[in-house]
Amino acid sequence: MLDRLIGFLSSGENLVFFVFSLVAICGAIFMISLTRVVHMVMALALTFLSLGGIYITLGAEFVGWVQVLIYAGAITILMIFGIMMTRHRGEAETEPQRPWHNGLLLVGAIVLFGILFYVIQNATITPQSAPVDPKDNTLQIGQLLFNQYVIPFEIMSVLLTVAFIGAIVVAKREED
């Protein structure tokens, strides 16, 4: 087992992936286990960043930086604003009043992971065609986006506008 690990870590790219995934998982776990809300948000920001890094190693440069921009930049701050806007009296999460619920949930999650893990291990995916050369990722994405996927793109813009206007209307305080 050990030599396989060393073999895995030998090439730079794997090392980077290993580090990033480690950070991602720790961030996620901290998000669950920490008690103070802001710390949780920070932990998750860490996860988002490390995922961005993994996207870049996967050759998705544009998506990686968009992820960093949107998730680490915008959504985390939005969450922090959300936290500040609402007062957190019981800052520390009181002990789980629902031991049964959590216990069962943990078991469910682990079983789900087991199934997924099993499927993943057994699935054998063989790439049929040659991998795409990652020369100018942004250019290609741009071309693809506006030729083949222009309709979803338009729908996305509509969706965003609707969402944001909706958010403002919902959140606006009725000026007394």
Partner: protein, 419 residues
């Protein structure tokens, strides 16, 4: 003597039974904490509103505290913020209270004069004059011509200096750094003039009962004469620098607005009153000293907002320059500077009230004398203290940034507020 009787009955009556039915909740003498509790303390302790009314989001209780940079000294406003909008503001004063009026009760009149310098430390001359004028009224002294002129020139110079301090700090509060330097550069000239005249830059202790202490040194009057055109040029420069600035106008127009009736009912005076259109300047309406000999007009605002007060004060500076110009022209070239004041000043029993127009409004001095060297009771009507009372009303509904604009607009000096 008639006034005396009038005093006695009031005093007995006051002691006999406390003012009944004064609407205000009266507190026994010692019970200051209750008074404080009823006002600011209550608000503080109320803490964040329970979520009962739930609809408001987080309510922030902010202390625009005593050591805040833009409150011209140790003055504190407790502000209940909803986001940026102020829901309620309660000013808290008394941090600079030195008990001048109580101390004065066992100081003879000459010794009180240095204390008046430290009340409104930005315009000390007008403080000196109001005390001295009150005593002279009691003694019915005759003030020599030259002393009158010196007093007038000195007071008008002091008015200009005071307005310049106000102008520099007010714009600093709003956010511009440079104007402050401009203002203090020009004020330095006036300060040097005073230094040459009476030896001090801020606390002059220049006037004495019956006259002034020092005579103008040789060439002093010429320096004043040269200062006037220089100042006019500088005032135009100030206007160019700031008054036209659109961003500045956007910040200041329409903020802290009140009408004439409110101003009068709050007892405001000075630029705060005149900005609402009420033309009331003691120099014109109750002339004292030799103001009646010169003609100058009293600038009056229209809609009572910060911008009007700003323009008003700039205009007042110009008018003071006009007065100075005429005063210097008519300056007597001889005559003694002290009237026939007795060596030991013992004003006869009785009371007197003298009020003059200080750069911040009507400053008054009310003295009750029992014929001894020390006044029995000395009371100053301090314009900053009175003008401050309108602040809470103005602040409701404003944002945090406007709080500073309005406070600066009223132009208070905390030394005068707390005495």
């Amino acid at each position: 003597m008639a006034q005396l009787e009038r005093i006695e009955p009031i005093r007995e009556q006051a002691e006999a039974e406390p003012a009944a039915g004064s609407g205000q909740q009266t507190f026994a003498d010692g019970d200051i904490s209750a008074a404080y509790e009823a006002t600011a303390g209550g608000l503080l302790r109320a803490g964040p509103p329970e979520s009962g009314d739930g609809l408001r989001t987080e309510e922030l209780l902010l202390n625009v505290g005593p050591q805040h940079p833009s409150t011209h000294g140790v003055f504190r406003v407790i502000v209940k913020l909803d986001g940026e909008v102020i829901r309620e503001a309660i000013p808290v004063m008394g941090y600079l209270h030195r008990g001048t009026e109580k101390l004065a009760e066992n100081l003879n009149y000459t010794q009180i004069i240095p204390y008046t310098d430290r009340m409104d430390y930005v315009s000390a001359m007008t403080n000196n004059y109001v005390l001295v004028n009150a005593v002279e009224k009691m003694l019915q002294l005759e003030i020599p011509e030259r002393a009158q002129f010196l007093r007038l020139i000195v007071m008008e110079l002091q008015r200009i200096a005071s307005h310049m301090v106000w102008w520099g700090t007010y714009l600093l509060d709003i956010g511009a750094m440079s104007p402050f330097l401009f203002a203090f550069r020009d004020r330095e000239i006036i300060i040097n003039l005073f230094n040459e005249l009476c030896g001090a830059r801020l606390t002059y202790n220049y006037m004495r009962v019956g006259g002034v202490k020092w005579d103008a040194p040789p060439g002093w009057i010429d320096k004043v004469r040269e200062f006037i055109p220089y100042m006019r040029k500088k005032l135009d420069e100030y206007n160019n620098l700031v008054s036209g600035n659109e961003i500045f106008l956007a910040r200041i127009q329409g903020i802290g607005k009140y009408d004439a009736q409110t101003a009068i009912s709050y007892g405001l005076s000075g630029a705060n009153l005149r900005c609402t259109g009420v033309s009331w300047d003691l120099r014109k309406d109750q002339p004292y000293c030799i103001y009646d000999r010169f003609e100058f007009d009293v600038p009056v605002g229209k809609n009572g907002d910060c911008y009007d007060r700003y323009l008003l004060r700039l205009e007042e500076m110009r008018q003071s320059l006009r007065i100075l110009e005429q005063a210097v022209a008519q300056f007597p070239d001889g005559g003694d500077i002290m009237g026939k004041a007795p060596r030991v000043i013992r004003p006869p029993e009785g009371e007197a009230y003298a009020a003059i127009e200080s750069p911040r409004g009507e400053i008054g001095c009310y003295i009750i004398s029992r014929g001894k060297q020390e006044p029995f009771r000395l009371k100053f009507r301090r314009p900053s203290f009175v003008n401050l009372q309108i602040l809470p009303k103005l602040l409701v509904g404003e944002t945090m940034t406007n709080l500073i604009t309005i406070l600066g607009g009223i132009d208070i000096v905390v030394g005068e507020v707390d005495a």
